[in-house]
Structure formats: structure tokens, C-alpha cells
């Protein structure tokens, strides 16, 4: 069963496609890291998934239902935490949880108690008086208490300090372990994504450029550095080249999936020296999003998700 299926999903604001022909399939139980620079179309996509914004073209199906016509029953199975954890600051923790509960069909009291206890959150505290990290923990508690089948988190660790972020990740890991539910989360912290996500998707200017298992993406991006005596010649056009630039007498080429074609291209230039380097996830992400060109290759890998 797939938790999320989109086909040609498109949203246009002011005549410009913010999300352009997004076709995506996220299987149930997958933890999906949704990446992209600010304004790449991530939030608009999550808003369309949850039925808060309607697409201008294409379809979006969540938990087997059309997102534009979600029933109350289906909505109750989806939890959504918006960017910045917006909550009513005047409410106490207790108020907020009761308020949230009034919208839920199910409520896992034990889980809520565990989270409050673990993070030492008092029910009588006013939300406005809590730190940003504590507010994030309360909103996480409220989001997962109804045992949702799909959890959508829009940049949940934004603005949290390093320690609180790690705490938040730990609770997320626990949630993954407990139920094997589907989680879609966006983030700018690539290290967090690598720890938590089974798969990643990278949006660049409204287009889904990458959709692959996290490890596969990381291990297939390579940086080729070619050194020349004078001005570096252009790199021959071949599939898989994401970006290329000149730094002094060196030409740097970023490729997805190093092939014999790339090696032949390297040799054809007869460089003084050549090196093929691996990248960490953050550098791979930067290479991919910085070098974005309309003709850039897509990197979509359907792979078996079972461990």
C-alpha cells in the first residue's frame, strides 16, 4: 500500500509554477526526507497533500483518498505539524492537549504521558512561557497522540538548539520504531535527514529532481576534479552530469552515478591529474541544488524498501 501518490501535481501562483508536475510515490511505513531550498515548493506540496491547498493540475492521493475531498475519518489519520510549531500561546499544556484531543478519534494517553514525562513538561505551564524546543515537544505529543497513519512535519527542527534537536530526533526515532507509520518531513539539516530518512526527495524550483533511497543517493554522487596546465577545457556533454565549474586551473564536475562514459570523458581531456571524490549528504545536496539547470538530469530510483 502506498501512503502518498501524486501524479503531475502542479500549483501555480502568479503565473509561475511553484510545484511543477510532481509525480511521487511514498510507500506506507517509509520515512521520507523532503528537501529543497527555501521557496523550492516543499511547503506548497505538503499543503496540497493535506488538502489545505488545491492543485491547479494533477492528482494527489493520501492514504488511498483524494486529498481535495478528504473525509473527517481520513483527516483523523493524518497529523500535520506546520513550520515553526504554531500553537496558541495563551493555552496551558493541559488546555492545548484537551483542545487537540477534541478533534481526534483516538487518543493514546500513555504515549502523551510518556512524552510529557520524558521532556519534563508540566501540564500547568503556559505554552507562551515554554522554550521553542518545549513547544516543539508539546506539538509533537499532540500530533502523535491520535496514532496517525501519516505524520507530516514541515521543518520540525527549525530554530531548535542542537541539544533539543537531538532530543526531538530521538523521539522521532522512537515513533518510527513503535508503529512503522509513514512520516514525511522537510528539513534543512542534512545530518538529521540522513539519520532518520529511508528515502529523500529534493525539490529544485518546483521540480522533484531527486527521489531515491538516502544511502543510494549519497553513494552515487561523485565529484570529479580535473587539473590542467592552462585554462580547463569544457567537459563533454554526457548523461548524469549535474554541474560543472572552473576553479582556477581545475575543472570540477558533479555526476550522479559514475559510469564508463564519464571516465572516458575524463581521459579524453588528458588532464594533468584527476581525482574522483565521494561527497557527504550535505555536499551532495549543495552540489545538486546549486548547479540546477532546466536540462539537468533527474535522479529517480525506485528501490526495494525492505531492509
Amino acid at each position: 500500500m502506498d501512503a502518498i501518490v501524486t501524479d503531475g501535481l502542479t500549483k501555480i501562483y502568479n503565473g509561475r509554477p511553484v510545484v511543477h508536475g510532481l509525480t511521487l510515490r511514498i510507500p506506507a511505513g517509509c520515512v521520507y526526507g523532503f528537501l529543497g531550498r527555501n521557496g523550492a515548493g516543499k511547503s506548497t506540496t505538503t499543503r496540497m497533500l493535506t488538502g489545505m491547498t488545491f492543485p491547479d493540475a494533477g492528482t494527489v492521493t493520501v492514504l488511498g483518498n483524494d486529498s481535495t475531498q478528504l473525509s473527517a475519518e481520513t483527516r483523523a489519520r493524518i497529523a500535520y505539524i506546520a513550520e515553526g510549531h504554531p500553537i496558541y500561546k495563551w493555552m496551558t499544556v493541559d488546555h492545548f492537549l484537551k483542545f487537540s484531543r477534541s478533534f481526534a478519534h483516538r487518543w493514546n494517553h500513555q504515549l502523551v504521558e510518556q512524552i510529557l514525562d520524558y521532556f519534563q513538561l508540566s501540564r500547568s505551564r503556559k505554552l507562551g512561557k515554554l522554550s521553542k524546543g518545549q513547544q516543539a515537544q508539546v506539538s509533537l505529543a499532540a500530533a502523535i497522540a491520535p496514532d496517525p497513519d501519516l505524520l507530516i512535519l514541515d521543518d520540525p527542527t527549525l530554530g531548535l538548539d542542537t541539544v533539543v534537536r537531538r532530543d526531538f530526533l530521538e523521539s522521532l526515532i522512537q515513533i518510527i520504531q513503535r508503529q512503522g507509520r509513514t512520516i514525511l518531513f522537510s528539513s534543512h539539516i542534512l545530518g538529521d535527514v540522513e539519520r532518520v530518512a529511508d528515502r529523500i526527495g529534493i525539490m529544485v524550483d518546483g521540480i522533484l529532481r531527486v527521489d531515491a533511497p538516502t544511502d543510494d543517493f549519497k553513494s552515487s554522487i561523485r565529484r570529479i576534479v580535473l587539473e590542467f596546465t592552462g585554462e580547463p577545457p569544457p567537459f563533454p556533454d554526457c548523461p548524469g552530469v549535474i554541474a560543472t565549474r572552473v576553479i582556477g586551473r581545475k575543472r570540477e564536475v558533479i555526476v550522479a552515478g559514475l559510469t564508463e562514459k564519464h571516465k572516458e570523458a575524463m581521459e579524453s581531456l588528458s588532464p594533468l591529474a584527476s581525482e574522483v571524490l565521494e561527497l557527504n549528504l550535505e555536499d551532495a545536496f549543495i552540489a545538486y541544488t546549486r548547479g540546477a539547470r532546466p536540462a539537468m538530469p533527474l535522479f529517480h530510483l525506485q528501490a526495494d524498501l525492505s531492509p
Binding site: 520515512v31 537531538r166 530526533l169 530521538e170 526515532i173 522512537q174 518510527i176 520504531q177 542534512l190 545530518g191 538529521d192 540522513e194 539519520r195 532518520v196 530518512a197 529511508d198 538516502t214 544511502d215 549519497k218 553513494s219 571524490l277 565521494e278 561527497l279 557527504n280 549528504l281 550535505e282 524498501l305 531492509p307
Partner: protein, 133 residues
Amino acid sequence: MEFQVSTTSQVPIYRQLAGQIRRGVALGKLVVGEQLPSVREFSRQLVVNPNTIARAYLELERDGVVHTRQGIGVFIAQPQSDVQKTARKKLLLDKLDELLTDAVYLEFTQQEVTELVRKRSQLFSWPRAGGES
């Protein structure tokens, strides 16, 4: 034995973990029959998706480094297969390359290094030739 993973590394997390376990076995820090943390425990301890841990174990199991006893746990396997010999040889070669690189930069000659290795290795106890350790 302590394990840790880094997200600034170029190496995928599952391979970092598999590598640490391999090294642990090769250095005798992990012994045959020793139980490793469960996928859940490891996942919580390292703050890493459980599927990533499972992938590391799957790879190690395929290479004969560990074996999983259903419902009981994951254990360091008895080394016997040629697969493991190959894996251990690769580990040794990596170390050797590192050492030789240093030796070149420290301006030793090839002969000096060979002689040093021969002398130094006499200080160690070795398994008998032919007998797979």
C-alpha cells in the same frame, strides 16, 4: 565496544557501522558468540533509523561476520568462510596502504620498511600457517 556514526562522513551510515563491527572482530574487541545490540536498541542508541541498522546487519550477515538467531538476537559468527577471509584481507590492505603512505612521506626506503615489518612482527604471536584463525 562503543560505536558511533557521523553524518559529516562521505560513507553511508550503514557502512560506517558495518565497518566498525568488522574492525571490532578483526581486532578481537568483539569475540565469536558475542551478542550485539538489537536493531531497536542500536537505533535508539545511535539515533538512526532502524532500517539503517538492519541494513548494516544484513550486509554483515551476508559476509558471514554475524548471524541472526530469530527472536534471540544478533551474534558474532564463527569465522570460517572464504568470504570472511577476503573481507579481512581487504581490511588489512587498507591499513597497510595507510601505513605505507606514511612511510613514503617519512622518507623511508622500501627495504627499510620491509625489514622493520619483519623485525617487528617477531614480537607478536601468530596463528599457525594453514590453520585458519
